[in-house]
């Protein structure tokens, strides 16, 4: 199975070495209400892609289709394709659980497991998915916390509850928890919206570093944040993808009038 995956992967990588994920003709609904309309977007590997747009335009819905979290909402439907390394994650034979292990997620509100210690929170992914076999948990926990730049702050308190630290620390703990599984892609849904400016700065720095090892997609309502951390920016409006390109291009020289109005603060 592994060798098959590898050959398919290298095949697609030959085709488009820099594309990690791609949505093709993606539509999504909640009941009768269409939340996404024909989204075609590519996510480059080892880069940060930011999704911006006014509240309710479908940013969260979009990234939740990238790791099949969308379908957990009872009324949710979707159509179209989402490719991960060239393969459709919605194909019949694909197990959503396997996709979520490869495409990790960090939520808007920090959500460490309330009954678990800091250590267990980081190790949770490995334990819950049975992936801890043959792994040194202590090492994984340390490495993940280091990558999330939290290790120095909590190394003496690993036994304390995950909810006992500050909001910013909790969010970095959630990032460490996602990293511990070594996913290929990390999705972040407004990860700083509940945090103060100092905690936000720490996480932004962390995001930029993460792209060395991971592909990052971040939803943000802060255009300054998109400009600071991302390589590519997508602007969404009313469920549609209005503009997509390199961040510098989108911000300095937007092609669409709506984009320009939005980034100059004329609405939003």
């Amino acid at each position: 199975m592994n060798s098959k995956e590898n050959t398919e992967k290298s095949y697609t990588e030959q085709m488009r070495p820099d594309v990690k994920m791609q949505s093709i003709g993606l539509n999504a609904w909640f009941g009768q209400k269409q939340a996404l309309k024909d989204i075609n977007l590519t996510v480059k590997a080892n880069a940060v892609t930011a999704i911006i747009g006014p509240s309710g335009c479908g940013k969260s819905t979009f990234i939740r289709t990238l790791n099949r979290m969308h379908e957990l909402v009872p009324t949710a439907k979707m159509s179209g394709q989402v490719l991960l390394d060239g393969k459709d994650i919605y194909a019949d034979e694909v197990d959503p659980v396997q996709i979520r292990r490869r495409v990790g997620m960090v939520f808007q509100k920090p959500n460490p497991f309330p009954t678990m210690s800091i250590y267990d929170n980081v190790a949770a992914g490995l334990k819950l998915t049975g992936a801890k076999k043959g792994k040194n948990l202590d090492e994984v926990v340390k490495r993940s916390l280091e990558q999330a730049t939290l290790w120095e702050e909590v190394k003496d308190d690993l036994k304390k509850p995950g909810t006992s630290i500050s909001g910013g620390q909790q969010q970095r703990l959630c990032i460490a928890r996602a990293i511990a599984l070594q996913p290929e892609v990390i999705l972040m849904d407004e990860p700083c919206s509940a945090l103060d400016p100092i905690a936000t700065a720490k996480i932004e720095e962390l995001i930029v570093n993460l792209k060395n090892d991971y592909t990052v997609v971040i939803v943000t309502h802060s255009m300054q944040q998109a400009a600071r951390v991302s390589d590519f920016t997508a602007f969404m409006y009313l469920g549609q993808l209005v503009e997509f390109g390199e961040t510098s291009g989108v911000f300095e020289n937007p092609k669409n009038e709506l984009t320009e109005k939005y980034i100059t603060g004329k609405f939003g």
């Binding site: 790791n67 979290m69 957990l72 009872p74 659980v97 396997q98 996709i99 979520r100 292990r101 490869r102 990790g104 997620m105 939520f107 509100k109 959500n111 460490p112 497991f113 309330p114 009954t115 949770a124 992914g125 334990k127 819950l128 998915t129 959630c174 928890r177 996602a178 599984l181």
Partner: protein, 280 residues
């Protein structure tokens, strides 16, 4: 103006006094029962009373050992059957209950929660006692389970619904399966509510009498086997109260006190569970 104010003040006082009166009306009988039980039951308590079987009329009333033993066996056996089934039903309703079958099940469950316990007893009588051909400890535990399961299922569902959805999503987004998420993340987060609700439900069934009359029947011996009739505290109290002999009636008061103490112990357990180290 002043008159008006005085009148409002008076209404305020009146309302307060009425409330107080209601509280007193509710509490006085309760306290008098408690006083009666302690005053008449406490003199009975002794090591022999708690550990020995009934004696011979005219010589000595003996003890209520078999009734205590029987009640503990019933509580244990019922918990063994009722708690797992109740918790699993509650988990189904809360975590997988987004369909028509679950709504139907929820309604049936609510009706069962309010079911008259004598009918539960008759049901267990016709299903277990008639089939097995004998009154038995098992039949009693089945009857009490009928009462325990819906209550535990209800509290389980309520406690699980209190766990924020963000916690489930965090686990699912890590690639954990739904069953694993429920078991390792959601249930532990709901633990204090689960323990509290379950203990309260067990305390409730500890004092049930009607279903026992139709199932375990009661006798005067220590445990004879799960397929045999058995004594239990509520049964002992009920039978002794009907006796003309003062020493047996006195023994009944002692048994009532012991039963109240057991229920009290379970309630104290609840207090500890909802505040002590079980708390999340």
């Amino acid at each position: 103006m002043i008159n008006n104010y005085a009148f409002r003040k008076f209404k305020n006082r009146l309302f307060f006094v009425l409330c107080l009166a209601c509280v007193v009306i509710a509490i006085v009988p309760l306290l008098s029962i408690l006083y009666e039980v302690i005053a008449r039951g406490a003199p009975q308590l002794s090591w022999e009373f708690l550990t020995q079987g009934p004696g011979t009329i005219g010589v000595s009333a003996g003890g209520i050992g078999p009734a205590i033993q029987g009640s503990l066996i019933l509580i244990g056996l019922t918990s063994l059957i009722g708690i797992p089934v109740g918790i699993l039903s509650g988990v189904y309703l809360a975590e997988f209950g987004n369909n028509r079958y679950a709504s139907a099940m929820r309604t049936v469950n609510d009706v069962l929660t309010e079911f008259p316990s004598i009918i539960v007893g008759i049901t267990a009588f016709s299903v277990v006692v008639l089939t097995m051909g004998s009154f038995s400890a098992i039949a009693g535990a089945v009857a009490l389970s009928f009462i325990l399961i819906p209550v535990v299922a209800r509290t389980t569902e309520e406690s699980l619904k209190l766990v924020p959805n963000s916690v489930r999503e965090a686990s699912l987004a890590l690639g954990a399966h739904k069953w694993r998420t429920t078991l390792s993340v959601v249930l532990p987060a709901a633990k204090s509510g689960l323990v509290t609700g379950t203990l309260l439900a067990v305390a409730r069934i500890a004092g049930e009498t009607a279903p026992l009359i139709m199932t375990v029947l009661g006798n005067t011996y220590f445990f004879q086997g799960f397929g045999q009739p058995m004594d239990a505290l509520p049964l002992r109290i009920w039978r002794n109260a009907l006796q003309p002999y003062p020493e047996l009636q006195a023994q009944g008061w002692g048994a009532a006190l012991v039963l109240i103490l057991i229920v009290l112990a379970l309630n104290i357990g609840v207090r500890l569970a909802s505040r002590g180290r079980f708390r999340k």
